[in-house]
Amino acid sequence: MTVRIWSLAGALAVLALLIALPDVVRGYYVALATKMLIFALFAMSLDLLLGYTGLASLGHATYFGVAAYTVALLVVRAGVNSATAFPAALAAATVTGVLFAPLALRARGSYFLMITFALAQVVWSIAFGWRSLTNGDDGMPNVVRPDFGWSLDNTVSFYHFVLATVGVAALLLAAIANSPFGRALRGIRESESRMQALGYDVWRYQYVAFVLSAFFAGIAGALYAYYNRFVGPEYLNVVQSAEALIMVILGGAGTLLGPAIGAALIVYLEDFVSSMTEHWVLVLGIIYVLVTLFAPRGLIGLVVEFRQRRAAK
């Protein structure tokens, strides 16, 4: 029980720090922290699929990008109110998940990875090629941030908006992870056949996990469209999908907190190291290799292992 109290206290301290962040650091870092939060949610959404259900997707940027594009198309092309576009974007990402899941779930393991990748490439090609609608690779600027009676144009208020949204989404994800459903997903990750033998309709669980994961990725994507005030096909790119995978693995798959930390760390490192040296790609590569060698279960894995070792003593 003391462990629980401590972690609760820790969580509250972190939350207080996050809320007070704009008072402590200067403007640019608030914006960077906003980006970290958005990608933390993106990575956590993938973790539901990769870490909990054991399905490695190389097409997760699809749901992120579809939501972002929905916001941009509705706001810029159709003149829809930006706040109204938000739920529509989540719906679009979810529907895409609903449609793609049955195709992707025909396979497992590396083949699942490949199908998700193939489907994602098709969506990317549409965003890239349908110039009259999407502006192709030029992307769509002039995305307006929503206005809920108070303006989000200011860096700090937008940060708090993102913090609140990501916070609620993270709580939901954590609740799902600890619900009977989330536990069942872990069981499926460990052994599909055993779960079936126990009476679980494995496919349906994977399907729901897939769609939920798309939904949460959609939240991150819509936020990112507001954050940058534009969208481009890069949002849908395989590089974006791969980066999400790396964030999850780096932080520690199947822990939610790990992927969030992994995402924040990678966003920060890309920004920080690339300002120091143009060879930031090399530095990041070396970091990935070192993390694998010393923390094969991800950064959180180190902590878990440490705890287990102490518990064993």
Binding site: L172, A175, I176, N178, S179, P180, F181, G182, R183, A184, R186, G187, E190, S191, S193, R194, M195, Q196, A197, L198, G199, Y200, D201, V202, Y205, V208, Q308
Partner: protein
Amino acid sequence: MTALTVENVSKNFGGVAALKDISLDVQEGERRVLLGPNGAGKTTLFHTISGNVVPSAGRIALFGLDITRLRPDRRARLGLARTFQITNLFPRLTALDSVLLALGGASGRGMQLIRPLSSYRSLYGEAQQVLDRWGLAATARRIVRTLSYGEQRQLEIALALAGKPRLLLLDEPTAGLSPAETRRVVAMVHELPRDMTIVMIEHDMDVAFELADRIAVMHLGRLIAEGDEAAIRANKQVTEIYLGAE
């Protein structure tokens, strides 16, 4: 009542016949052991009964209900449980969590998305009871991967039993166990309620004869003999093929 009916079941894998025209009836509450050398098709037969393999021909019924084309999980919810020959557990979960999953599958509560599992107090109590009952109380908080092989085999059975199945399929529950562990498993099976139907694959003749009401012997995908201990011991073909090989 007939618990399990297997009617003229055949299975071909890419032209190789693994099961040839198998027919089998198991009565409710019966303890049936499947004997046969490696490659006889015993595990394939199990797979067709549990739904992991769809037979090429024939029909399977569970308590009078045709289940030939049902998915494994539907069969499980009809009261069928099984263990696997190669230990098939949740390596990175704790023993308690594993049993919780087994209980959840039977109850159909798995689709609860928000309410934390830890708030289902009664479920936890039940899971702990299952572990206590099968002598696994001490393993509750341990990660399955770290359990001994014997404990893992016991947990296999405990998981299958958690949902209180009406028909239990045990695939070589004592394979690879020490004599002491084997005795523990045999005791476990003895303790099961008599109305539970059990079909079991077993290599150990002593175990087989101790537990079985009736025995069926398979060879090269065919059922070659059926009967009680005496009948099997007296069967010449069985002695030649199976007992002779030992």
